[in-house]
Subunit: 252 residues, 2 copies
């Protein structure tokens, strides 16, 4: 009775196998998107072996030298930024097929922490080698740029969320985003298991954990979702979506 329930075809994870983009079920979501077989073989060649992490382990920490980016092969991560004065902001949650570590390129050092929220596995992509290969393979270069750009666009979405939405709107947006991403990976969009705590959700959404908890309870009372600890079932996706679009709209 545990989420996530597979609801259709795509077999997702083949744990224990040697990393190889050409064999990976995530290739359409990940860096090798659109490469020819030949080019994919060259990419395979530069990608370092996979690395497994236990829940709670850091993939990298702020300040560490930047050498690679990472593709999530299985599992679930959070990234967060910590300032000297003790502020802590979760900047994202990453799942299979998503790329981690691009923040480190600018300063040659990671600027945030990446932590596995469940037992996970990543592919290691040495960045200098990736740049070299992408000079030769135009579609790889372009796709890398798209991935980085997509991250910028995603960040703008988070700014929108933090800057303009109230607590329940933020949580609705968060749930719908997770739902859509699980769906894209062949999991149920309606029923899933949260890997993060209320506090981590709160940090991501700019809310306190109590506020997150209350919003969950309210959604449950209203029949939008059912919540049992970390197990979420979305009962009414359309109505959840309407929470994001104020009916009359502060359209000023």
């Amino acid at each position: 009775m545990h989420a996530n329930v597979k609801h259709n075809v795509v077999p997702l994870i083949t744990p224990g196998l040697k990393v190889a983009c050409s064999q990976c079920n995530l290739r359409e979501l990940c860096l090798p998107f659109g490469l020819s077989d030949e080019d994919m073989a060259r990419l395979d060649n530069l990608i370092g072996g996979g690395r497994k992490l236990k829940r709670g382990q850091h993939l990298y920490r702020a300040g560490e030298a930047f050498e690679s980016i990472f593709a999530v092969k299985a599992g679930f991560f959070k990234t967060d930024v910590l300032t000297e004065d003790g502020r802590d902001q979760v900047t994202g949650f990453q799942m299979a097929g998503e790329i981690l570590g691009m923040d480190g390129i600018s300063t040659e050092a990671h600027t945030c922490n990446a932590v596995a929220l469940e037992d996970s596995e990543v592919c290691l992509i040495p960045f200098t080698e990736l740049e070299m290969l992408s000079s030769e393979i135009h579609s790889l270069q372009h796709h890398l740029h798209k991935v980085m750009s997509r991250e910028i666009v995603r960040d703008h979405g988070v700014m929108m969320l933090l800057g303009t939405m109230r607590a329940e709107e933020r949580l609705a947006a968060f749930l719908l985003n997770l739902s859509q991403r699980f769906n894209a990976r062949g999991y149920s969009p309606a029923e899933f298991h949260l890997r993060m705590t209320r506090e981590e959700i709160g940090s991501y959404l700019g809310l306190k954990l109590e506020t997150v908890s209350r919003a969950f309870s309210r959604f449950q009372d209203e029949g939008l979702i059912s919540v049992q600890q970390k197990h979420i079932r979305i009962l009414d996706i359309p109505r959840l979506k309407t929470l994001l679009a104020p009916p009359d709209g502060r359209l000023g």
Copy 2:
């Protein structure tokens, strides 16, 4: 009596001249950073002529086809995202030497609007050509990646601001950020002219314009700054910085 007052050497703008990275005073802040003379000449060659914009004009709009990124040569811009339901979030303010438009790479269409907040000039950098050239010039490729990564890091900083700071902290961070960027361009870090309205500041900071106005007034009452409409003079930078670091610290 108008800001911004030049406080040292760097002559910044040479309006009317043909764009040429090799002649540009911004080259150390901008894309050609670190290129040899020869490579810079090649970059010169691909950069389309400059484009001038009057205050209020759009450089691009969300939905338009993406073809180029832009380097701000002179002036001041804002970028904002608008959703169907009427939410409006300013995602950044850009000044000389900064790059605009990288959000458009991922979908081949711009995802936000860029508007000149004063009469401005940009260099047009056709992206396909830039990719081709950067395949050949490794340092250009790497610097482009750094610029994109820097944008991601900047966005994380904004998330931190929106997610963890209260109104006065946000405004202090905003002013200190502007101060530092003006300083880096040879302008006074203590005295400058805001190009944006209180509402635009508020949108960027996730606050209502009245809250921004009150925070300005409070800072003035406390002798931290002097405000006269859009003219800002920072009187006590160190004390403004302490506003960002809560003395005891919510260091939980």
